[in-house]
Every structure is written in C-alpha cells, then in structure tokens.
Symmetry: C2
Subunit: 159 residues, 2 copies
DNA sequence: ATAGTTCCTACAGTCGTTGTAGGTTCAAGA
DNA sequence: TCTTGAACCTACAACGACTGTAGGAACTAT
C-alpha cells in the first residue's frame, strides 16, 4: 500500500493523468500531498474516490451529479433519498436518450435500405439517392415517427 | 418568395440566428448577399441548404458528414455509394450507442431498485445506500454486464 | 553522469452550439 | 421627420468533460 504517483493512479483506475489533474482543478478530487520535487503523492482515499468518480462516469453521470453523490457518501448517516433521486433522474435521462436514438435508428435504417434497393436496381446516382433525398425533404414528409422533429431531439448524443 | 433576413430564415428552419451565422463561419452555408446596411439577405437556395443541414443534424449526423453529404448533393451524376456509406456508418454509431445505453440502463435500474427496496425496509441511510455502494465498489463485482468497463463506453452521450 | 521516462504548469483545442457585450440598421408609428 | 424598439452586426467567451501540446523539472536505471 505504498503511495501512488499520478501515473500509477491513472493506470490503476483506468484514467488518464490529465483527467486526474482536471478533477483536482475542478475540486472533485482533493489536492494530494507533494514530494520535495513537487510531484503529487496519492493515498488510498484518493484512489477510492477516483474509482468512485470513474465508475459513475462510466455510467454516464455528469460531474455535477457525481460531486453531489460524493458529498452524500461523506455523510453516512444522512437519508439516501437524495442519492436515489439523482440516480433515478439519470436513469430517466438514459431512457429518454434510448428512445430518441431508437427513433433515429428507424429513420436511418429506412433511408439506407431504400438507397440500397435503388443501387441494386442500378439507380445509383446521387440525383435519385434516397439518403440525400430524405435529408433534403424540407417537408419531413418521409418521416414516419416525427420523433426527431421535437426541438433538439438528437443534440449532443456525441460518440 | 421574397428574400429572407437571418431572423426569418431561423424561424422558417427552426434554427437559431447564431447557429446560422456559425454555419456560415465554418463554410457549411455560403455567405449570402448583404443589404446596403450590411445585413444578410438569403435566397431560396440558402433555405434549402439550411433545411438539409438541420434535418441531418436532427438525425445526429456530425457536421463533417453533413459537409460531405452536401458536396455529394451538389454532384447529382455521381454514384451514391459514398452517401450510402456515410449514412450506414452513422447508423452503426447510433446502434452502438443504443447498445451502450441499454447496458447502462440495466445497471442503473438495478441500483435504483435495490435502493428503493432498502428504503422500504427502513434502511434509508447513506451508509447502506445501494447506489453509493455500487459506485464505490472498485471491483465492479456488482456489474452483471461489464459492458461499461470497456474504455470510454459511456463518454459524451450528453443530453 | 546520462539517458529515458515521468512528472510539472499553463494553455489551446475538441464539438456544436449558445450567450454576451457593445454597437448599427431597419420598419412602424406619432 | 423623428423616435422608439426590434432585429441585426462583429467579436469573443462559455458550456461539458476531457485531450493534447509546449517547454521545462524531477525522478529511475544504468
């Protein structure tokens, strides 16, 4: 259990060195001790806290939610209703996002399938391309679901 | 069919004024004519192009892909295999994202359900909270799927 | 001693917008 | 014609959550 450098901590938790320094800069991870040469020295508490953060991030919790969950974890005698609420809210966001992406998947799959069929019939010019056509269709008449027409539906799903 | 100001174009296409100027700045939308007072004046071609961009964005296409699709749309006699490939690649990304989010949904739902049961049994302290506990579990032993352990699985799904 | 790796700070870049500050132009009414 | 107020202009900063880079200092092994 000898103390960690930032590099070994990164390896142990599957983080990047830069990310650990970033978490410290935004106050998510407490500043550790330093060596005489100014290098960070981490104890077990840091490792545990960082593992918590990484795990929560893997589950998609935003850093603000993680900050609150960490604060809750530091008060073991408090009721856990708040933690429940944070996780429930996040679950709801994940479910909304899944529903949005499933609507997009349907529309994309339809576009691609029609383009494929056209290509197989030999109509493989852009001028008849179903993909381009569908995107250019200002009326959105080809959209069965209409799901993506709600404002900003697909924004920032990244990846 | 009189020419549009940037504001009316924004209303017609469901964009924001800033976003239209941004598309012009990055070369996605051609610079329109200007009035004597330096205000933008848009023609129908701009409106069509912007509608195309917005529709593609609603489907989650990144701007680089949209740039390429627009370029393809400007060459109607080219084969549409490239457009097919762009859309297919995007569909694959959407499907990967859905699979990731479904794994997260499962894990979150399990966490929340266990926390709920504990609360109903009256063990509503943070110290026994299943949410906090699951996140703190460095071993990830509670994770059935293991899906989110692959690198950066849940990154940037935003929203 | 020296070479190579890891560490340090500070800052810019990513993506697709959105917001702000500070000023100019336009359309309508008095 | 003048005035109000909305819409427009440029330029730049902020968002979230990192990631990358530059330029240097400090460890570790030989």
């Amino acid at each position: 259990m000898r103390p960690d450098t930032i590099g070994s901590l990164a390896r142990e938790t599957g983080s990047k060195v830069q990310t650990i320094r970033y978490y410290e800069a935004i106050g998510l991870l407490p500043a550790p001790a330093r060596t005489a040469g100014n290098q960070r020295v981490y104890a077990k508490a840091h490792r545990d806290r960082l593992a918590f953060i990484r795990h929560a991030r893997e589950l998609g919790f935003p850093l603000d939610a993680i900050r609150e969950l960490l604060a809750l974890g530091d008060r073991p005698d408090q009721p856990c209703a708040r933690a429940d609420r944070i996780a429930t809210a996040h679950l709801a966001r994940v479910e909304r996002k899944i529903a949005q992406l499933e609507a997009l998947r349907g529309e994309l799959a339809r576009m691609v399938a029609r383009c494929r069929r056209a290509q197989q019939r030999g109509q493989a010019r852009i001028s008849e391309c179903r993909v381009i056509e569908a995107l250019a269709d200002h009326s959105h008449a080809h959209c069965l679901s209409g799901a993506h027409q709600a404002k900003g539906e697909a924004e920032r799903f990244g990846g």
